[in-house]
């Protein structure tokens, strides 16, 4: 499995004691698979993704990326991974091209010029190669973050709200990019509130609520579950039923 999560949990220390953001979460994502991670606000999606990316340390459980344990072999695991956060963190003093060069250097990508040119074209960043982040719109900055994630040969891609700030053409291109990467063999975990996007590109979906996994399966599997049968095959209906919000208009 490209990505394997076993009994993962994350607890935060707070002034009032401790708060469990994610508890006992287990799932896998195979190569070529696109899995949607959805849930209401505060469900623990971003905590999960940040922990899988090595930003937060898991309180419990194991995370393996391409058979490398994230805690025991962090460098090897991170080399196989690309995380595209929802908030584009860029260095204000590096140009778009310099961001790509820096990431390529740190990940040992030698043919950065060709790769960068292809990505700039794919993500519609042409003409912005020498621009600083301060000169870019929110959507453009998001594209730079995604380009930095795609410039190396990552086998596991983590997307957190990848369409935030993108225009309709950008959204369409991004969908194609995600699907193309999965077809090329990457394992993709995608978190989004845009259920129609998840429905369109994902082959499987994991629904989280209050830090726990409440559903995991293909749309057909979820629709055929006894407790969800009446919700229909629509992901929105399934989501509302699973999270207990279907009673509200």
């Amino acid at each position: 499995m490209a990505l394997s999560v076993e009994h993962f949990g994350r607890t935060y220390a707070t002034a009032a004691g401790s708060f469990t953001a994610v508890a006992d979460l287990s799932f896998t994502v195979a190569s070529g698979e696109i899995v949607g991670l959805i849930g209401p606000n505060g469900a623990g999606k971003t905590t999960t993704l940040r922990s899988l990316a090595g930003i937060l340390r898991p309180t419990s459980g194991r995370v393996r990326i391409d058979d490398y344990d994230l805690i025991e072999h962090p460098l090897e695991a991170k080399r196989c991974l690309a995380f595209m956060p929802d908030e584009p963190h860029l260095f204000e003093y590096l140009t778009v091209m310099e961001h790509l060069r820096l990431v390529a250097r740190l990940y040992g990508v030698t043919d950065v010029v060709d790769r960068a040119a292809a990505l700039v074209d794919e993500l519609q960043l042409t003409g912005k190669e020498q621009a600083l982040p301060g000169e870019l719109s929110r959507g453009m900055r998001q594209k730079v973050v995604i380009a930095c994630g795609l410039v190396r040969n990552a086998t596991t891609l983590l997307f957190d709200e990848p369409l935030t700030g993108l225009d309709p053409i950008g959204i369409r291109r991004m969908r194609s990019t995600i699907v193309a990467r999965a077809k090329a063999g990457a394992a993709i975990l995608l978190s989004s509130h845009l259920l129609h996007l998840v429905e369109e590109v994902c082959s499987r979906v994991i629904i989280m609520d209050r830090g726990q996994k409440v559903a995991d399966g293909t749309f057909a599997e979820l629709a055929s579950r006894a407790d969800l049968a009446s919700a229909g095959s629509n992901l929105e209906q399934i989501f509302l039923r699973v999270t207990g919000h279907d009673a509200h208009p």
Partner: protein, 576 residues
């Protein structure tokens, strides 16, 4: 609107105080507050007590002004008035955006669409700026010398009137500037204050010029007194009247003269406020202009502005990760500082040094430049590592990104140290080279061997001193992220000030401790060799000391690796 303005101001102030008090529950803020309070007590209040007891010793007799200060003090009101007039004229020549026209995003969102007149918005903004100005004038009162014979409270009140008048006047200039290009009566009215100021300046300049030609001053102080007397001449007095009225309370005796002077200053304040409030039709446009200019700026206020320019350094695709971090920080420097301007500065410094050395000791240039370069060297070595924060202290803001990179933790720490140490060392070396070059002119009693040996030894020690301090600062950022201001943050408050003082003291203590082994071994080397090679023994001693410190730094970066791995992004986010 008045009550709404007051509500916003009171609520903001109350909430700010509440947040500051609430955070005292955390030990770091509590300890910081104690340290800050102790510092304030010993710096200011202890001074008050000392000055009070000195007054008591004098039997409450007013302090006598020393004879040498009598003449400058006599013309001080005229000089103050002249300075204010020059500042007032400068506002037209060198336009800056008035801070009273800067509204926060929340203010723009809530107040602009509200049924509030432009004048009311301006009054609100003036009211909101009062807290800062009251604090500023209180500080002026606290720092004022007791020899003036007026109480600090009276000085604070007089300063407050000047500050408020200046703030409102600058707003008026910004508003009037927008109308300078208009047509008809609006244009004529807008040009009126500019013309009046120009005539007034010409009159005063004429008076100063006439006196200067009559009796050229012997030195700078005499020149200042001459300018003051010229500004006190009848014609100049008339045109300087409003400016004189503003500064007069600072020099007036209590109670009668002071109260009359305060009334005069308040009249000027009232006139300026009326001028601004009557010209508020340009307010909306001026506010929009300021907001637009701010929005065009690529970064938040107070943050550095980066410009895309060719740096001549392309990151090669392979190599050590430390180099990549150094390159990243170098790009930051080169995007902030223009290489050509920097080169010009260095060339000017080098030329000045050569000229000063050629002119010899008789001229003061060599001594001045020498003293400046020694101070610059010491500043670069001892304080720049605290100020230049292009390392982990800044990159902790990007920790979320850094943590995803497949780079060994110790390499990250080392990489963060490379560029700041290079750039600080380069600055220190430049200043040291100037000082060593001029040492022959400045310190003729010190032998050439000692001058060269000492200079070379300090040059060798510089990278060690700089790296050692940077390592300590970065270690503090990794181990106690909450104690270290990140990036361009400048936390305010007594507790934050105390935290900074504690950190500074701890850093210097650790610096001494980290240098101790190197200093001891280096001292032994010097002692052993100085009988044979004299002052040149300082060089091998410095080399040994630097080597030991380099090993310490290398070991420290390895030891800090686990601290970086353990560092929780949330700890940094909370600290921010």
């Amino acid at each position: 609107m008045f009550s709404a303005s007051l509500y916003i101001i009171v609520c903001s102030f109350r909430n700010r105080v509440r947040v500051r008090l609430q955070r005292l529950r955390q030990p770091r803020y509590f300890i910081g507050a104690i340290a800050g309070a102790a510092y304030l007590y010993f710096s200011f209040f202890a001074r008050f007590r000392a000055s009070r007891s000195s007054v008591a010793r004098r039997g409450n007799r007013p302090s006598r002004v020393p004879g040498s200060l009598a003449a400058p003090l006599a013309v001080a009101p005229a000089l103050g008035a002249l300075a204010l007039m020059i500042a007032a004229a400068g506002a037209w020549l060198f336009p800056v955006d008035s801070s009273l026209l800067e509204f926060s995003e929340a203010e723009q969102q809530f107040l602009f669409p509200a049924p509030v007149s432009r004048r009311q918005l301006l009054i609100y903004r003036i009211m909101r700026s009062q807290l800062g100005m009251l604090f500023g004038s209180a500080m002026i009162g606290i720092f004022s010398p007791p020899t003036l014979g007026v109480s600090r409270l009276r000085i604070s009140a007089a300063s407050w009137i000047i500050l408020v008048t200046a703030r409102i006047y600058f707003t008026g200039v910004t508003l009037a500037r927008a109308r300078l290009g208009a047509s008809g009566r609006t244009r004529r009215v807008a040009w009126l204050p500019v013309s009046a100021l120009a005539i007034a300046l010409a009159l005063v300049a004429g008076a100063v010029g006439a006196q200067w030609r009559q009796t050229p001053p012997a030195d700078a102080l005499a020149g200042l007194i001459l300018i003051g007397r010229a500004a006190d001449s009848p014609a100049a007095r008339v045109v300087l009247l409003p400016f004189r009225a503003l500064v007069q309370p600072l020099f007036s005796e209590w109670p009668g003269p002071y109260l009359i002077a305060i009334a005069g200053a308040l009249a000027v304040l009232g006139t300026v406020a009326t001028w601004v409030l009557l010209s508020d039709e340009a307010f909306q446009e001026a506010v929009s202009d300021v907001a637009e200019r701010r929005s065009r700026e690529p970064v938040k206020k107070g943050e550095p502005i980066y410009k895309v320019r060719s740096t001549g350094w392309t990151l090669p695709p392979t190599g050590r990760p430390e180099t990549a971090f150094a390159w990243k920080a170098a790009m930051q420097t080169l995007r902030m500082v223009d290489k050509r301007s920097l080169l010009r500065g260095v060339i000017i410094l080098v030329c000045l040094t050569i000229v000063a050395a050629l002119m010899g000791q008789a001229n003061g240039l060599a001594s001045m430049l020498g003293a400046f370069s020694i101070a610059g060297t010491l500043f670069a070595i001892l304080l720049a590592p605290q100020i230049v924060r292009m390392d982990m202290r800044q990159d902790l803001q990007h920790l979320e990104l850094l943590k995803t990179w497949p780079v060994k933790a110790s390499a990250v720490v080392r990489g963060e140290l490379v560029w700041p140490s290079v750039i600080i060392t380069a600055c220190a070396w430049l200043m040291l080279a100037v000082a060593t070059f001029l040492a022959g002119t400045m310190m003729t009693h010190v032998g050439l061997g000692l001058r060269l040996g000492g200079g070379a030894a300090l040059a060798i020690l510089t990278p060690a001193l700089v790296l050692s301090q940077l390592t300590i600062h970065n270690a503090a950022a990794l181990i106690f992220p909450a104690w270290v201001p990140l990036g361009n943050q400048r936390p305010r408050g007594l507790d934050a000030m105390g935290q900074r003082l504690i950190m500074l003291g701890a850093t210097w203590l650790l610096l001494v401790l980290s240098l101790l082994p190197g200093a001891i071994v280096g001292g032994i080397v010097w002692f052993a060799l100085q009988h044979f090679i004299g002052a040149a023994a300082l060089v091998p001693a410095a080399l040994v000391c630097t080597g030991i410190v380099a090993i310490e730094v290398l070991l420290a970066t390895e030891a800090l690796g686990p601290a970086y791995e353990r560092l929780d992004v949330l700890a940094v986010e909370r600290a921010e």
